[in-house]
């Protein structure tokens, strides 16, 4: 048993791609530049984050003010943009925020690429699982970092998100152990959002990147691979883009957190918006279980998809599932931005659409397989193609 697992891991490690570094030959296609860009944006975020630590004050009373100070006063330059002074602190904060946004965007896009091109199939299972875990950790890093501003949006996001695990106490068998409350209390540092929460979130926010960066560097040292296979020009261009957007659209601070007033509408960082809309529709236990199942499905998808081909049309069911996921992500985000939710009507509608579309996908898959079998019986072999990992 143990030997089998070790062999499996050893095989996957040969072809393990953290940042598409074994796919250099394909990088005439921008889709495969997403790996190195991911690493690049991550480094920008880490470096600017460390610089921000010089001035940031992780207390409930001082956090908001210290951020305002970083934004407006630290390292004031002799130029202004639209009447606002341009500061080095503001630029650093802009690079940190927009670099992180770029990081999450690229991670999402890269995961969709890996999904629709079936790169998760053997021997890419481990690469896929790590990319997916990377997205989860990136989002956790995002929400822990967001609270550090201590503004209205962040405060209520933290409170809502950490009330969700409390409902795990309702589960049969393991519920009475109260491990749901335990999870919430461990993150919050008590049963309320306060100073302990900000301290713990600060540690997590920094710790996630620190630990991952060390692991990644060890991996690169041992495999002697090149981290970024890109020329200097696009790298400089991305940096300039981040600087320009930090000047034109300075990172916002919102209003200082007020525990007695819920902001309207309640929003979060853009990549959580779809989840917020979903939470309106479901009983609260499923607000936690749903995303949990989604993460579980994402992690084991390489073992569920037993189809032969790699092209999207060669495995219709999983393509339909993926397309549905993209569609729901966009649609739910749009719905919450326009503040549309009819609780009496929508969940029923969404359930039915999902079931019908999944059933059609399954039907398509079965039809496709029958055609393949018939073709095989008739002696027509599909045209040979180069494997993805060349």
């Amino acid at each position: 048993m143990w030997e089998k697992v070790r062999d499996w891991l050893a095989q996957r490690r040969q072809k393990l791609d953290l940042f598409d570094e074994t796919l250099v030959a394909r990088q005439d296609n921008p889709l495969y530049l997403m790996g190195p860009m991911l690493y690049y944006f991550w480094l920008i975020t880490v470096v600017t984050g460390v610089i921000l630590m010089l001035w940031y004050e992780p207390t409930t009373t001082g956090a908001y003010t210290s951020i305002e100070r970083i934004q407006n006063d630290i390292g004031r330059l002799a130029l202004t943009f639209l009447g606002r002074p341009v500061t080095l602190g503001g630029l650093t904060r802009g690079l940190h925020k927009y670099g992180a946004d770029a990081l999450i965007t690229i991670t999402f896009l890269r995961i969709y690429r890996m999904y629709f091109l079936a790169e998760y199939k053997k021997p890419g299972e481990l690469s896929w699982m790590l990319a997916f875990l990377g997205l989860i950790l990136g989002m956790v890093s995002g929400i822990t970092g967001y609270l550090l501003i201590w503004n209205q949006r962040a405060f209520w996001a933290a409170k809502v998100v950490l009330t969700v695990p409390v409902y795990f106490d309702e589960l049969p068998l393991i519920g009475p152990l109260k491990f749901g409350s335990m999870i919430a209390f461990l993150f919050l540092g008590g049963p309320a959002v306060g100073q302990a929460t900000i301290t713990r979130f600060y540690a997590l926010h920094f710790g996630i990147s620190l630990v991952l960066l060390i692991l990644v560097e060890v991996f690169f040292q041992r495999t002697r691979r090149k981290r970024i296979n890109m020329s200097l020009f696009p790298l400089a261009l991305f940096l300039v883009m981040l600087v320009v957007i930090s000047i034109i659209l300075p990172a916002e601070s919102g209003r200082r957190a007020d525990p007695t007033k819920t902001p309207l509408p309640i929003l979060s960082d853009w990549y959580f918006l779809a989840l917020y809309q979903y939470v309106k529709y479901t009983p609260p236990l499923w607000a936690g279980l749903g995303p949990g199942l989604l993460i579980g499905f994402g992690l084991i998808v390489p073992f569920l998809d037993r189809s032969k081909g790699r092209r999207p049309l060669e495995r219709p069911f999983f393509t339909v599932v993926g397309a549905l996921a993209v569609l729901y992500f966009l649609a739910f985000t749009a719905l919450i931005l326009f503040n549309i939710a009819v609780i009496e009507r929508d969940p029923f509608l969404i359930m039915n659409i999902t079931l019908v579309v999944l059933a059609l996908g399954l039907f398509w898959e079965l039809r496709h397989r029958r055609q393949q079998r018939q073709a095989a019986a008739a002696g027509i072999s599909p045209p040979a193609r180069a494997p993805v990992h060349g």
Partner: protein, 230 residues
């Protein structure tokens, strides 16, 4: 001769098991102190959350006078201060629990001393006996029992239909309602069987209530139903 290798394998497996068990036990023994590092108010060798340790302490305050809520559907917002345990050097954090006093058009049972039932049945769990058993005054915590937002008392049900997801209450419930802006849960404060009954939305239960006493002209809130994240 064939059975001998199989027997040896069995013995090896047994020995492996014998050495693995203490290793597992040692790992389990490490969990408790590790957990106490993260959650200092866990007792020794307990690995699950004891809620007693995390109970909050409230400060008794006068929330309204009887004259302020004299007519049916009069209401008054107030803020109750509650001390929550926190894993910092101070140990406690004072958090605000917003609440609302509502005058209902009819009397409802708040606590049945014989059976211990009613909206205040939780009072027993914190070792208190409510002094009021039946009243047309009810005091709710405005922390939504769903995911902890602050919900609103909406005097006109039409505003609920317009602004909180299009829910139209049936004719007997067309009066003031309570509605949460975050995830659009809607509550009926005047439901005679279950005050605060969830009419629409994802909330799993009615809002938590305050225990109150009437001293002269004042309505005094003494405790708030435990649970949720403040």
């Amino acid at each position: 001769m064939d059975t001998k290798p199989a027997e040896m394998m069995a013995r090896r497996k047994f020995l492996k098991l014998v050495t693995t068990l203490p290793a597992l036990a040692a790992t389990a023994a490490l969990v408790s102190p590790l957990l106490r590092f993260l959650k200092p108010n866990v007792e020794k060798f307990k690995i699950y959350a004891p809620t007693v340790q995390d109970a909050a302490r409230g400060e008794v305050i006068a929330v309204a006078t009887l004259r302020e809520v004299a007519n049916p559907w009069d209401y008054k917002y107030f803020v109750f201060t509650q001390k929550y345990p926190q894993y910092t050097p101070e140990g406690f954090k004072a958090a605000n629990v917003p609440g609302v006093v509502i005058k209902l058009p009819y009397k409802i049972t708040l606590y049945d001393p014989a059976t211990g039932q009613g909206p205040w049945r939780w009072a027993r769990d914190i070792g208190k006996t409510p002094k009021v058993t039946e009243s047309d005054l009810i005091v709710f915590s405005r922390i939504c029992p769903h995911l902890g937002c602050i919900y609103n008392f909406v005097p006109n049900y039409k505003e609920v239909t317009a602004g909180y997801g299009g829910y139209l209450p049936p004719p007997p419930r067309q009066h003031a309602l309570m509605a949460c802006p975050c995830h659009l849960s809607i509550y009926d404060p005047a439901d005679p069987q279950l005050p605060g009954r969830v009419l629409s939305g994802p909330a799993p239960r009615p809002p938590r209530t305050f225990l109150y006493e009437i001293q002269g002209e004042n309505i005094i809130a003494t405790d708030v139903e435990p649970g949720g994240i403040a």
